[in-house]
Amino acid sequence: MTSALKKADAVDRVSASKELGSLRSLDMAEVELRDVNATLQAAGKGENDNRWEVLNPRGSHAVAVGLDVPIEVTVKGSTGYYCAGMNKKATVHVEGSVGPGVAENMMSGTVIVEGDASQYAGATGHGGLLVIKGNASSRCGISMKGIDIVVHGNIGHMSAFMAQKGNLVVLGDAGGALGDSIYEARLFVRGSVASLGADCIEKEMRPEHLEILKDLLERAGADASPSEFKRYGSARKLYNFNIDHAGEY
């Protein structure tokens, strides 16, 4: 890691904005992935080390994972599997597309993807905000546990499967079997829904939902009105134990 820090220092650039601190670079053409992540994980504790950019990711897996400090990281290009996985407190901005499992198991913080996301974006996330400005493919928000996800484009099939908590907002269309076996997550879709999964139904949009939606759309930089969306959620017939069915077990 020492060598990585030296290399990182060597390519430091001073930002025009002093309030935000200087921008420091990690070039993956020179620095190994493990050293990139170790450097980012150790950052945010000293002076001028809270703004970083990662250059030349070239589709690498596990870029900027396991961060637990409130730093800003910009990834200049597309990444592979599990980008910004397990994120806590940090803001990770990907100026490209991401492979499967972006922000999987995120705890808090913000992850913004300028391009598309592959399968299971935000899977099992406990908190924080994941914004995908392009499309997300299948299984977006699978087993989400409190994360908020805003997708500017479309999402693929089996999204929000077994989603337990949090909000999934889709400005475009949703693929088949949306919200299959869903628990208490809220799903908001502006476009069409190819089909709803088991125990997922359209629900009434009440004022408190419009408030949640308005806030999420603003924070995600999405130009859409809450009134254009429909809300979907659990019919609560699948996961609740029904005493009348006791004899069937």
């Binding site: 597309s78 599997y81 492979g99 499967p100 299948s138 099939h157």
Partner: protein
């Protein structure tokens, strides 16, 4: 797991670089499949039919083969040896006799066609590419595979691509669940898979549909109906390049298109060195959707 790559050139300018670009893509996918690798490349059309044959004992088997084949078919033969493989070209009229002769000598026919050549072996993708000199090859399109075997043995014949008809080939990431039933059905139709591998059954399926009059797009649409299991397939014909994923689509896939080419890979990493990739349209192919390009 397995890694698959494909590159289909829309313009001739990149033809001399096809082998180089495809090899780099293939080697990048080593992590996904380090046990064997293979490539099918559509090069210059031969004046006749090219057979790519393989032998475990190439020194013995390829010595004197050209002369023996020439005598057997009483017609000109050209033969080019590349490690364990040899590419043998004969006139169309003598192809059937030549094929019977080659099989009679115990050689394994990996593929045949006017332009397609297939090279595959056990080993790391970089080693396999070096043995055959893949980087130096030119052509219009090609597909490649790095294998992590799951359902049949790690052997040369179990490596991909598979070819079961002239100028047709397929690579596969996934596993089929109805390949035994499909194998029996195809055998009855006369399309006999030579190995125990599930992907070869898929190759036979596509070949059978094309033989029945379907184009590659229709054959792949048929695969969505008739083949059960997990699959991302990338296929080649003399002039065409096709991609299809099963409806569940858990096997990864990404595509890139520019004015110059269409590229496929299991992961974006494989595209990082393609010319103009920063301005390419990059997307994930939809499940149960056939993508098809033709020259």
């Amino acid at each position: 797991m397995c890694g698959i790559v494909g590159l289909f050139l829309k313009k001739d300018e990149l033809r001399p670089r096809l082998g180089e670009l495809l090899t780099d893509m293939l080697v990048t996918m080593t992590d996904r499949g380090p046990d064997s690798a293979g490539i099918a490349i559509y090069g210059d059309s031969a004046d006749g039919i090219k057979f790519t044959v393989q032998s475990d004992t190439p020194k013995e088997d390829f010595a004197g083969l050209e002369e023996a084949l020439r005598a057997a078919i009483d017609a000109p033969v050209s033969l080019k040896v590349l490690d364990t493989h040899a590419v043998i070209t004969v006139a169309q009229a003598t192809a059937a006799t030549a094929e019977a002769f080659l099989e009679g000598r115990g050689l394994r026919i990996m593929g045949k066609g006017e332009s397609m050549e297939i090279f595959k072996e056990v080993g790391l993708p970089q080693e396999v590419a070096d043995r055959f000199g893949l980087r130096a090859m030119s052509g219009s399109h090609g597909i490649g595979h790095t294998r992590m075997a799951t359902e049949s043995a790690v052997t040369t014949l179990g490596a991909h691509p598979f070819s079961t008809a002239e100028d047709e080939c397929i690579v596969h990431n996934g596993s089929l669940s109805n390949h035994n039933d499909m194998r029996r059905r195809l055998t009855k139709k006369g399309f006999v898979a030579k190995t125990e591998n599930d992907t070869e059954v898929a190759a036979c399926y596509v070949s059978s549909r094309i033989a029945e009059g379907a184009n590659l797009r229709e054959a792949l649409e048929g695969a969505l109906e008739d083949l059960d299991g997990f699959y991302t397939f990338v296929t080649g014909t003399k002039d065409g390049f096709g991609v299809v994923r099963d409806p569940i689509a858990c096997k990864p896939a990404v595509m890139a298109e520019t004015d110059d080419y269409v590229a496929f890979a299991s992961e974006y990493r494989a595209f990082a060195d393609l010319p103009g990739i920063e301005n390419a349209r990059v997307w994930e192919p939809e499940p149960a959707t056939v993508y098809f390009w033709e020259r």
